[in-house]
Symmetry: C2
Subunit: 259 residues, 2 copies
């Protein structure tokens, strides 16, 4: 039973919890505040049901109400806080990433794999860059199209990588986007060999990034770190000749500092 995952309908599955969390997650950057009817529509719940969850979340302090509009409160940060607090290496890594940003003027991040996405868990944003501003801790991006994603996929045991490749839905974000599981697998094998990944304008026009894995001194994989830049500003020689060594240096510094 250990690896068995509950499904909705299983007697031990708590549907009210699942539905309540769905209500919490319906708020996003495009819908920071909504009426009861909007929440019901977006969650496809009966209005009375959605109302009960909104009022319960309000009672618990996770949602506030302004007239007919509901919105999240900072208390929701509490739900993710323990995840961030559970790894004391985060603060150390933050310092190294900020060094990179200070030195190269580019954004640098740490991400971990979660399902088919990477999740940003540490972020040092370069200033005055539009792309930099829109990414923050908690942001998820498809692993298949990011350099950090490919680095983390490269660390998976073969069966898990194959399972990922079997289920991943590939999408043409740009003309350069990888479009077959075969091609993706070939690239990941290459990443395994060379120890880094470069992804160039596959997710968004102009977005170019390089990533390496980062380990603690005890061998534990902490995630992938990257430097992301704009193709118009940084050519491939600079990415390989300057940015990659700097990133590898930061990964090595993390490894030596942690145990």
């Amino acid at each position: 039973m250990d690896d068995q995952i509950l499904k909705p309908g299983d007697r031990d599955y708590v549907g009210a919890l699942a539905s309540g969390l769905e209500v919490l997650q319906v708020f996003d950057a495009e819908h920071p505040r909504m009426t009861l009817s909007e929440v019901a529509a977006r969650t496809e719940m009966d209005r009375a049901k959605a109302r009960r969850f909104l009022l319960t979340l309000h009672a618990l302090g996770f949602i506030k109400r302004n007239g007919r509009q509901f919105e999240l409160t900072p208390r929701v940060l509490q739900l993710g806080y323990a995840y961030q607090a559970s790894n004391q290496y985060r603060a150390v890594i933050q310092q190294y990433l900020e060094d990179i940003t200070a030195e190269l003027g580019e954004s640098s991040s740490l991400a971990v794999l979660d399902g088919d996405d990477v999740v940003y868990v540490v972020r040092s944003s370069a200033r005055h860059r539009l792309m930099a501003i829109t990414l923050s801790v908690g942001t998820r991006l498809p692993a298949a199209y990011t350099s950090m994603g490919r680095v983390l996929l490269a660390q998976l045991p073969e069966p898990e990588l194959d399972a990922f490749l079997a289920r991943v839905k590939l999408e043409a974000f740009t003309a350069f986007s990888i479009h077959s599981a075969d091609a993706l697998k070939k690239d990941i094998i290459k990443v395994r060999k060379q120890g880094y990944s470069i992804v160039d304008q596959e997710l968004d026009s102009g977005l170019r990034s390089v990533a390496v894995p980062v380990f603690a001194g005890n061998g534990e994989l902490l995630g992938a770190i990257n430097i992301s830049t704009n193709a118009a500003r940084v050519d491939m020689d600079t990415l390989l000749g300057v940015y990659l060594p700097r990133l590898q240096q930061a990964a090595e510094a993390v490894r030596r500092t942690t145990h």
Copy 2:
């Protein structure tokens, strides 16, 4: 009914959601991973009940399981993400706070009021400082004992401030901790007049900080920003003569940049 808050036992209150969120929040820095029995003990739930919530959260991807141990996944960051994403000013403020850290070598933060606490929502940590490392986005501290808290309390309408003073439980964290609601109210009135707050070693030995409110160009209160330092390193003259003007400058820059 607008301002009426549901209570447990009310027919519209969804107890299973409340309990499920309690399970999620039982994980913290000291208990990043726990067995089923530990979760049941810490939440004071029947073991079978705790088990159903853990397995449901596992099915939803918020918790992972290693043998008998359960721990949070990065997906929990998703729950707080919408809150962070809902205010585009956060990225702008981050830049200004990082300028302060770069220039003064001190940590600087933005916090908002949530219940009787302040919650850190933006953070620029000075490097190699123990205190800096332990505070992060999502951290909550008692509003009464922090400079940002007092600045935010000073912004409350009188009835809300009085309600806060009536219910707040004061605690002697240090010998310098304020210990009466009267003294706290006097200080907050002073903060209203002078437009900033200094709190000196009331929460922790050596911890000294100055805070000011920060508004968007349209008058919306965004929170309070602070600079926190160590009393051994920065005297009161420097705090008032150098740090405060710098903070006010950052608040003014935020006001001019946002609308």
